[in-house]
């Protein structure tokens, strides 16, 4: 029982990261039907930006941890958002304007991811970076269940981010424009909504939250390396699709679902079978619900 | 020689009902189409006409009722099997394979009677060569009949709209159907094209001796071509008869013009 509760907390924390990254995938996908394969690496860049700003604030300026953290969050989010927007401006938009098949943009995204990874490797070397401790970590044990203040913060942030994005998409003008674009990309410019500006906003949101995820990730798993975003990026993409890509609720739920499946398989089966069982479960879910959990079945009009 | 089928309907629909969730798109629909008939199905937008066609061509499975093609029930058959029974159709919005040549559009439609599979295509067996030659010849002949030979190597997307319609009908006929379903063939055509279309359908009807059932909004097309017309609204049959009867049927007028009795 204690084990189960403990594993639920583990799953929530791990799922939070998937969810936060998957949100970025799904936002961009919803607007552009583009699988932004560079997103995992944007997350990695976010973690590095967080690392450099945190080290700068802590060591060079000698600020106390909590102030550094408070400054770190906006700095990381803004800078990471800029990286995302830059990718969109220099790599995706020209291709889109040339009317390329969407999968060519996907491949371009893949290439951008490779460049980010290896540019990092070339510039900062192969040494891994240790993320400085910003806030003191407290381990609480209640009835055999152990958790830390950081874990709670991570889970809470994921929920807040989701609520914010959900509010944004359903309640604000920009969000409505985003949804309108996902329904009909050709009609929207006719209605006077500036398509490119909405796309930029989407990238800002998606990458900004990837940056936030990067910061939190670096605080929870303080070992940074250039390839850290690749695997988690792929998996978050999987989570977003299983949830029903293009839908914010789907990405959020998919992230937690994937986290839960991975953790629970390890908890109750031999851990060597983790990938085998976890991916079989996902395969079955998609065979059972061909458009993911929240995806709307596209009715073919004849 | 096969048994004469004069008395057997090409298409028989019995008590057809289709529900989408809570919505009843078609309810208790019945029809019998005799060989050689040219019949129409009309009704206001959203009346469920295309749904009936989709049910007949096997794209949906009916919630209730039965569809028989030449006496064979189609329940549980996939669309390509239904097509192989001799049902061809066209679509409201033209659905040609736009980046495949006109000739290939006709050739691919011969899948139901290819008579060879992957293995034969790999080894280029005698049977494969014979079948491909036959298909190519028949496709060329068909294009010739429809005066489309000049476009054989073009992509359909580059053809004028009227020609695309014609090609779609030619493609449907290339599978030698017993029953041809035309879903709004006149949609999007200008008046001179419509006149040509009427001539074309009439000519097809005689030339290929095929049973035709069509949905159409252009009343003059229906009135000029069809001998029998069925009207549905909200999935229910509201009238049936020859063009004249339909024109004067009060239920039809209400359905089309609304109940404006003051």
């Amino acid at each position: 029982m204690e084990n189960l509760v403990q594993n639920i907390i583990n799953a929530l924390q791990w799922g939070s990261f998937y969810a936060l990254i998957a949100l970025g995938y799904t936002l961009v996908y919803g607007v552009l039907t583009l699988i932004n394969f560079a997103h995992g690496d944007v997350f990695m860049v976010g973690a590095y930006i967080a690392f450099f700003s945190a080290t700068f604030l802590l060591t060079t300026l000698g600020l106390p941890g909590w102030i550094a953290l408070a400054l770190c969050i906006p700095v990381t989010m803004i800078l990471t958002a800029m990286v995302g927007v830059t990718l969109e401006r220099i790599a995706y938009r020209p291709l889109r304007n040339k009317g390329a098949h969407r999968l060519y943009v996907v491949i371009t995204a893949l290439m951008c991811g490779l460049i980010l990874e290896h540019a990092n490797l070339a510039i900062f070397g192969a040494s891994r970076k240790a993320f400085p401790q910003l806030i003191a970590e407290h381990v609480y044990t209640i009835g055999g269940v152990t958790f830390t203040n950081l874990k709670i913060a991570v889970i809470a942030t994921a929920f807040l981010a989701f609520l914010f994005l959900h509010w944004m998409v359903t309640r604000t003008r920009v969000g409505m424009a985003m949804r309108a674009i996902s329904y009909d990309k050709f009609a929207v410019p006719l209605l006077g909504i500036p398509l490119d500006r909405i796309i930029v906003v989407t990238f800002i949101l998606g990458s900004g939250f990837a940056g936030l995820a990067g910061l939190l990730f670096a605080m929870s798993y303080p070992v940074l390396e250039p390839y850290m975003g690749a695997l988690i990026g792929w998996k978050a993409f999987i989570a977003a699709v299983v949830g029903g890509i293009g839908d914010i609720r789907g990405a959020f739920l998919g992230g937690f679902l994937l986290g839960a499946v991975e953790i629970m398989v390890v908890a109750f089966f031999p851990s060597t079978f983790r990938d085998l069982i976890a991916f079989t479960v996902l395969l079955l879910i998609l065979t059972w619900k061909p458009t993911g959990l929240f995806g709307i079945a596209k009715t073919t009009k004849i | 020689m096969s048994i004469p089928t004069e008395k057997r309907p090409v298409l028989e629909i019995r008590n057809l009902t289709q529900n989408f969730g809570g919505l009843r798109a078609v309810s208790d629909f019945n029809i019998q189409l005799m060989p050689g008939e040219l019949s129409g199905l009309i009704g206001p937008n959203g009346a469920g006409k295309t749904t009936v066609f989709n049910l007949v061509s096997g794209f949906y499975q009916p919630s209730e009722g039965a569809i028989l093609i030449d006496g064979v029930p189609t329940g549980g058959l996939k669309p390509h099997k239904v097509t192989a029974l001799g049902v061809a159709r066209t679509f409201q919005n033209i659905r040609l394979w736009n980046e495949m040549t006109v000739l290939d559009n006709i050739r691919v439609a011969q899948h139901y009677r290819l008579g060879y599979g992957f293995f034969h295509s790999a080894v280029r067996s005698k049977r494969y060569m014979r079948r491909e030659a036959e298909i190519a010849r028949e496709a060329a002949e068909l294009l010739d009949i429809f005066h489309l030979t000049q476009y054989a190597d073009e992509f359909p997307k580059n053809l004028p709209y009227g020609t695309q319609r014609k090609l779609e009908i030619a493609r449907a006929l290339s599978i030698h159907p017993k029953l041809l379903l035309l879903d709004e063939p006149a949609a999007g055509l200008n008046s001179s094209d419509i006149q040509e279309l009427i001539r074309l359908i009439r000519w097809i009807h005689e030339m290929f001796a095929v049973t035709i059932w069509m949905i159409e909004h252009q009343m003059d097309v229906i009135m000029q071509l069809c001998t029998r017309i069925k009207v549905i609204d909200f999935g229910e049959t509201i009238a049936e008869g020859n063009p004249e009867e339909i024109c004067n049927h009060p239920a039809v007028i209400t359905a089309y013009l609304g109940d404006d009795t003051i």
């Binding site: 890509i245 | 097509t83 980046e99 899948h111 790999a122």
Partner: protein
């Protein structure tokens, strides 16, 4: 008459020349190995193009099928002809290796084709990016299965294939691996070209362009999808078998997502729906990887950058969906892409 067989003749000449040069050691083993991996890449990219280009799906787990082929043909080969600590003495006399080798590779291909069902069956209902995840999941599943079978080495990998190569060399003294790679590459392209140009195979393109119309116009879409996925993964299996014998060692880690994305890049670089484009891009990509080796880390910045720039200029890949014959019409005199 001569023109009709010109393709066959030129292929035979090129193949013969390569074998002769290799045998006389005019081509160094290094270039030979690059050429062999090029052959493997050609098979991989053309076979993936069948699914991603011609059928319009987005499969990103091609490496998994390669893995199945690699493992099945090497396990079978070692079991029958070499014997090792897992299987004990060989079942058959190694001198028959030469005759059985193509069969071994084909069996690997067939096994991979069966693994292709893992993707083919969900594809009846699931499409597009959702199917992409299924392919990705199959890739993970396949690798995870192999990692969990301790008897064949798990993540330690499996070896012993070198003995078969030696046995073949003993039977007839020729550089057998290049010969087999060349023959299988030609065979795969030839088979796919025949498939895709037959009326039967054109059903694949019909599905890509309008699946509803295809089904209504009597194309058995489920059957075509199954066959296409199986052919595609089968070819990947053949490529995997060759890959395993070239290396003499297989490890499940060699067939992960990275491998799959590498193939993806080759397909889209060449152009969706163009076999010659895929061949060309596989050749180009392999050479590029080899030429830029001295750049070390920077290589992996330069190559993606080159590809991004290339895509800005040719947003439909090198060939688009055209074949060589469409760009050089004169070539059509020598062969018909029909």
């Amino acid at each position: 008459m001569l023109r009709r067989y010109s393709v066959h003749l030129s292929l035979a000449t090129v193949g013969g020349l390569i074998v002769y040069l290799a045998h006389q050691e005019y081509i160094s083993l290094y270039i030979m190995s690059v050429l062999m991996f090029m052959g493997v890449n050609i098979i991989m990219s053309t076979s993936l193009n069948l699914v991603n280009g011609y059928m319009g799906e987005f499969s990103c787990g091609h490496g998994g099928f390669m893995c199945v082929g690699a493992y099945v043909s090497s396990l079978l080969g070692v079991w029958l002809f070499a014997g090792d600590k897992v299987f004990g003495a060989p079942l058959l006399n190694p001198k028959y290796t030469l005759y059985a080798f193509p069969l071994l590779i084909l069996v690997g291909g067939i096994a991979a084709a069966l693994a292709g069902l893992l993707v083919a069956i969900p594809s009846y209902k699931t499409r597009g990016d959702y199917l992409a995840i299924i392919t990705l999941a199959s890739n993970y599943i396949i690798i995870s299965v192999i990692e969990n079978i301790g008897a064949i080495g798990g993540s330690r990998g499996f070896m012993g294939m070198k003995q078969l190569i030696n046995a073949m060399g003993k039977s007839v003294d020729l550089p057998w691996m290049p010969i087999w790679v060349f023959l299988f590459t030609v065979f795969c392209i030839w088979l796919m070209r025949r498939y895709i140009s037959s009326t039967f195979g054109k059903g694949v393109i019909a599905i890509c362009q309008d699946e509803v119309a295809a089904e209504i116009m009597s194309v058995n879409t489920n059957k075509i999808k199954t066959i296409t996925f199986m052919v595609s993964s089968g070819m990947a299996g053949i490529a995997g078998g060759l890959f395993a014998y070239i290396l003499g060692y297989v490890n499940p880690g060699s067939f992960n997502i990275l491998k799959s994305t590498e193939v993806l890049v080759m397909v889209y670089l060449g152009g969706m729906g163009s076999l010659s484009g895929s061949v060309l891009s596989a050749i180009l990509f392999t050479i590029l990887l080899e030429l830029l080796r001295p750049l070390q880390i920077v290589k992996w910045i330069v190559i993606p950058l080159l590809l991004i720039i290339l895509m800005q200029f040719r947003p439909e890949g090198i060939m688009g969906n055209r074949e060589l014959g469409d760009i050089f019409p004169k070539l059509k005199k020598f062969y018909r892409f029909k």
